[in-house]
């Protein structure tokens, strides 16, 4: 139909040139299949240069997947792939089964593939881009490839006469098919791309595990019994994973212990897997709500970042699955509760304790940034404590890779409208300027109401940087603003722009120069106040803009050994009586009604379940949501 389509599609042959590909996927061993072109790009976008395309590709299509995006990211970690390469390199000489050994093949390929691949690719791409030749469809008798060939200078002897050896390609015309076919086209294209992306990733990880195993087996100190054990354990883990991959997970596989969190879009439950009794936190999100509230991009980005990360600072996502009504995320359960609960309980922290948490959060935010994400919603509720009392970040619903999301408009509306929002907080009138130690009781009311706030749709804006909702663009450093406000709260007892309703909070944040106020009756160390002021300020002057190192070097952190931080004992360690102990969650404040079960029952009553057109995985917006991590249970 449109020339772009044809043009771009042909243009992809240029993508096969080895050089740009190498540039785009520097950490990919050449033995692994690599995408030639993101399928979306074939159909969208005009005739970009390959490099531009790749950039676009990395940033838009697969930005959340570090594997494709690394090279284009400011914070890209380069080492992961190199490590892998190294391992492969070390591993190669050890393969001693020349015939059917895939890893031998890998080693073999490794040394030759680039050359061979280059030759092949060059062969394909040699000559002018087919995209540049006249359009063939209906262009008379000329054979497309022959035409192309004829223009190509370095090609060896022509082999055939320019007759119609092949059927003429018709002009592409997707419009001749109906809307269902075109929608299925998108699914098909997406699923095929996902399949290869996931499979390559899995194969790569599998080979890495295999070479780690080989390394252990090579150890001469290893006795035969131990070697056998290593081998069988490895094989069993792989098999369990393969079984896990081909089995559909469903909520019925888990018993609910308690509901530990509730929000507008769903709830978080402590669950135990039937069978093995393993404990997880299961977040379930109501599909229709996600649709209505336009949260799909958010869900997706959360799933992507969690799926991609393997950081101790980020809550681990084991698997995601879905049914007709819910998206489910099975995550690690962190028994220590969250920082919000801690702050509600203790009101303020000492500088030492604050130093510990803020330092850990610096590292956690830095880890997220290194994955290529901006969290954008750093707040005490999203800072969880593991069983050792160390920090992990969660709730990446608002996280964004590179595309700016649509909530700017939303914030703009909030800013322009009057305070006609429903009162999010309790009706306690708090003018932050007047807050002193003497009216702490009011603050306590506020503190109690903030949990309600945390569960509302809107969420609290207290920690959001002004540039996010003024709509002038923002970058990684918006997370450092949030950290500054959290540090303020830790030391002062309330967030700096705390106000009676969201609307006033927005106002205060935008006018932070006038409204940022350190209460007279609370003595802060000069360095602490300086650090807060260095983060809660305009983005041009914000500390951390040049990387987390700027923050780590701040005088407030003098003496902090960031490298060993996660290994030292935390100031507060949860005391737990069992692996399903929810002491640190305010479960008594949370309605324990299982909405998921209720909703489902309602739906069945109303007969809405009957005509599910196809499996829930197949509804377009949720394609690719399902995810399965290897080390679910296995590591």
């Amino acid at each position: 139909m449109d020339p772009n389509r044809l043009h771009l599609n042909f243009d992809s042959s240029q993508q096969r040139l080895p050089v740009p590909n190498d540039r785009a996927y520097p950490t990919t061993p050449s033995t692994f299949p690599q995408p030639v072109l993101p399928p979306g790009q074939q159909q969208q976008g005009g005739g970009l240069h390959p490099q531009q395309q790749q950039q676009q590709y990395a940033q838009q299509q697969y930005a959340p997947q570090g594997y494709f995006a690394q090279n284009n990211q400011q914070y890209a970690p380069q080492y992961a792939g190199q490590q892998l390469d190294d391992r492969n390199a070390q591993y190669q000489p050890r393969s001693n089964t020349p015939g059917n050994d895939p890893n031998q093949g890998l080693a073999h390929q490794f040394s030759h593939q680039n050359l061979g691949g280059a030759a092949r690719n060059a062969a394909y791409a040699r000559g002018p881009s087919p995209g540049q030749r006249p359009r063939t469809a209906g262009s008379g008798g000329q054979q497309p490839s022959y035409d192309r060939y004829a223009n190509a200078p370095p090609v060896p002897s022509p082999a055939s006469a320019p007759v119609h050896e092949f059927q003429q390609a018709p002009e592409r015309n997707p419009d001749r098919y109906g809307s269902n076919a075109n929608s299925n086209q998108k699914k098909c294209s997406q699923l095929a791309a996902d399949f290869f992306r996931d499979s390559v990733k899995r194969a790569r990880e599998r080979n890495q595990r295999q070479s780690e195993l080989e390394q252990k087996l090579q150890d001469p100190q290893q006795n035969p019994a131990r070697r056998e054990q290593l081998w069988s354990t490895a094989g069993r883990k792989e098999a369990q994973y393969l079984r896990f991959l081909r089995t559909k997970d469903k909520p019925e596989n888990y018993n609910t212990v308690k509901i530990i969190g509730k929000g507008a879009f769903g709830e978080v439950k402590l669950v135990q897997k039937k069978g093995d009794g393993k404990v997880y936190a299961m977040k379930s999100l109501i599909k229709t709500e996600m649709f209505k509230k336009d949260q799909l991009a958010h869900v997706r980005s959360e799933r992507d970042i969690l799926a991609e990360s393997d950081s101790p600072w980020v809550v681990k996502l084991y698997t995601t699955f879905q049914d007709s009504y819910f998206l489910y995320m099975l995550m690690e359960f962190l028994p220590g509760g969250d920082l919000m609960t801690m702050l509600i309980k203790y009101e303020i922290f000492s500088e030492d304790i604050t130093r510990f948490y803020i330092a850990e959060i610096v590292l956690a935010i830095d880890a997220v940034h290194k994955l290529g994400f901006i969290h954008r919603d750093i707040k005490p509720d999203n800072i969880l404590l593991d069983r050792g009392g160390h920090v992990k970040l969660t709730d990446f619903g608002l996280s964004t890779g590179f595309h700016k999301l649509h909530d700017n408009n939303y914030y703009q509306q909030l800013l322009q409208g009057r305070s006609n929002r429903p009162r999010d907080r309790s009706s306690v009138a708090i003018d932050q300027i007047n807050l002193t130690v003497s009216n702490r009781s009011q603050i306590n009311d506020w503190r109690r109401s903030r949990r309600l706030m945390a569960y509302s749709t809107v969420g609290t804006p207290d920690y959001i940087a002004p540039e996010i909702f003024t709509g002038h663009g923002y970058t990684f450093d918006c997370d450092w603003w949030s950290l500054g406000t959290i540090m303020f709260e830790c030391l002062v007892g309330w967030p700096p722009f705390c106000a009676e309703d969201s609307h006033d909070t927005y106002r205060k944040i935008v006018n932070w120069r006038q409204t940022l106020y350190f209460p007279d009756d609370i003595t802060l160390g000069a360095e602490a106040e300086n650090l807060i002021r260095s983060m809660v300020c305009n983005t041009e002057n914000r500390l951390g803009r040049g990387g987390a190192q700027e923050l780590k070097n701040h005088a407030f952190f003098r003496g902090v050994d960031f490298d060993s931080l996660r290994r030292i004992r935390a100031p507060f360690e949860p005391r737990l009586t069992s692996n399903i102990d929810t002491t640190y969650f305010p479960t008594d404040e949370i309605d324990q009604t299982d909405n998921a079960t209720m909703l489902k029952a309602q739906a069945i009553q109303q007969g809405r379940t009957a005509p599910v057109e196809e499996s829930p995985e197949m509804s377009l917006p949720f394609i690719g949501y399902t995810f399965k991590r290897f080390d679910n249970n296995f590591r």
Binding site: P39, G105, P144, S145, S160, E165, P174, V200, R246
Partner: protein, 400 residues
């Protein structure tokens, strides 16, 4: 053994239709399946074969029915075979010869150069044939189909797909095959969905009019066997629907494809595993891939059948639907990548024999010649590289 086989047969007929309805994919074809059920002959149809290839069917029986004792006498040529049968003889026998199955030998018609062909259809045996001659022996329509144009035989991924289908050394073989079956089935049905899903006016892309037979070009059409084991021609749409139900019935059957995480095992490795295999299973009992992981004895046969059926679907997609709709919908590269991965996997795991590749042989040749299939792969071994090189030349693509 024969009992078991017939049991399997009945099981396939009886259960698949029902079980299939609980499957993910059934919904897309729900309406048709009812239509299919309404037809008495298709209700019990659960076995099919290349209609025209008598010997191939014999072969199928041998492989899947445990000796073919129940071979129906009427399994001869189907109506479709009649028209071009004279022409297509040679490529067919060419590939059948490569099965090197002695039991088949008497049934094969003598070939001019069968002694050498019998070993393989690979390069050496066709060394005295030119690329053109080999292509000629395929009796392809002229001009050649669009999908044989190297320009349109490209992929959405590049690199060595073997890394995706090679069994990890520690993984028990049956477990790996199960994984591959399920993956490929899910992948293939993404394409079938495009053909099968109804538009608002109730129309489908592949229907009784466009594809009255489950064909792969004019030379091949596949028949279902009905309850009396007579080959029946069905519209491709119905054939694929029945097949989908049969396959999903198998895949979703926890006895055929166990999912209990505790039932797993690992690959036996004589150099590391000190426990001899004989101690892991009772001596004298039959061994089969997947046994130690809880897969049943007929598991491999079922998987081979599934792969064969999926291959037929792919063949139909290429021969009947490559341009319409896949090329028009910009899906041909996706199709190419999925099918080439399928062929690599199926051949590497011995799930498809060289003879069974016949309807798609020229594309396999092309992919061997253009580097899609790495030289160490079985798919490459089964290809006629000269034919593939010739196709590249015809399109003006330099050969290596």
């Amino acid at each position: 053994m024969p009992e078991q086989q017939s049991g399997d047969h009945g099981d396939a007929c009886g259960h698949t239709a029902k079980d299939g309805q609980t499957d993910v994919y059934t919904k897309t074809v729900g309406d048709t399946s009812e239509g299919g059920d309404a037809k008495p002959i298709t209700r019990h149809a659960c076995y099919s074969s290349i209609s025209r290839a008598t010997t191939d069917k014999t072969y199928s029986n041998a492989r899947f029915r445990g000796g073919g004792s129940a071979k129906p006498p009427s399994q001869s040529k189907s109506p479709t075979a009649s028209s071009p049968s004279g022409q297509i003889n040679s490529p067919e026998t060419l590939s059948q010869a490569s099965q090197s199955s002695t039991s088949l030998a008497p049934k094969l018609s003598p070939l001019p150069n069968s002694p050498s062909l019998a070993q393989s259809i690979g390069v050496e045996d066709t060394s005295n044939m030119s690329g053109d001659e080999i292509i000629g022996s395929y009796h392809l329509p002229r001009p050649l189909p669009l999908w044989l144009n190297p320009q349109y035989a490209k992929h959405i991924v590049k690199g060595n797909f073997m890394t995706l289908s090679a069994r990890p050394k520690t993984v028990e073989p049956g477990e790996w095959i199960a994984h591959q079956v399920v993956d490929h089935y899910r992948l293939l049905w993404n394409f079938v969905r495009v053909l099968h899903e109804k538009e608002e006016d109730g129309s489908t892309i592949c229907n009784q009019t466009t594809c009255p037979r489950m064909s792969a070009g004019s030379n091949h059409s596949f028949t279902w066997l009905n309850s009396r084991r007579e080959p029946v021609e069905l519209p491709a749409y119905e054939y694929m629907t029945l097949m989908q139900r049969w396959i999903s019935g198998k895949i979703d059957d926890d006895k055929m494809f166990p999912t209990d995480p505790s039932g797993i095992s690992y690959a036996h490795n004589p150099s590391i595993t000190t426990t001899p295999l004989s101690q892991l299973s009772n001596p004298g009992e039959p061994e089969w891939p997947g046994k130690r992981s809880g897969f049943p004895e007929k598991f491999i046969d079922v998987c081979q059948m599934i792969f064969r059926q999926m291959f037929r679907v792919y063949a139909h997609l290429y021969w009947a639907h490559f341009a319409e709709p896949f090329y028009h919908l910009n899906l041909e590269k996706q199709l190419n990548s999925c099918f080439s991965h399928f062929v690599l996997t199926a051949t590497a795991l011995d799930m498809l024999k060289p003879a069974e590749l016949e309807p798609m042989q020229p594309l396999i040749d092309l992919w061997a010649a253009n580097g899609t299939f790495p030289p160490e792969s079985k798919a490459y071994e089964y290809a006629n590289i000269k034919a593939g090189q010739r196709l590249l030349e015809m399109a003006g693509f330099p050969t290596q």
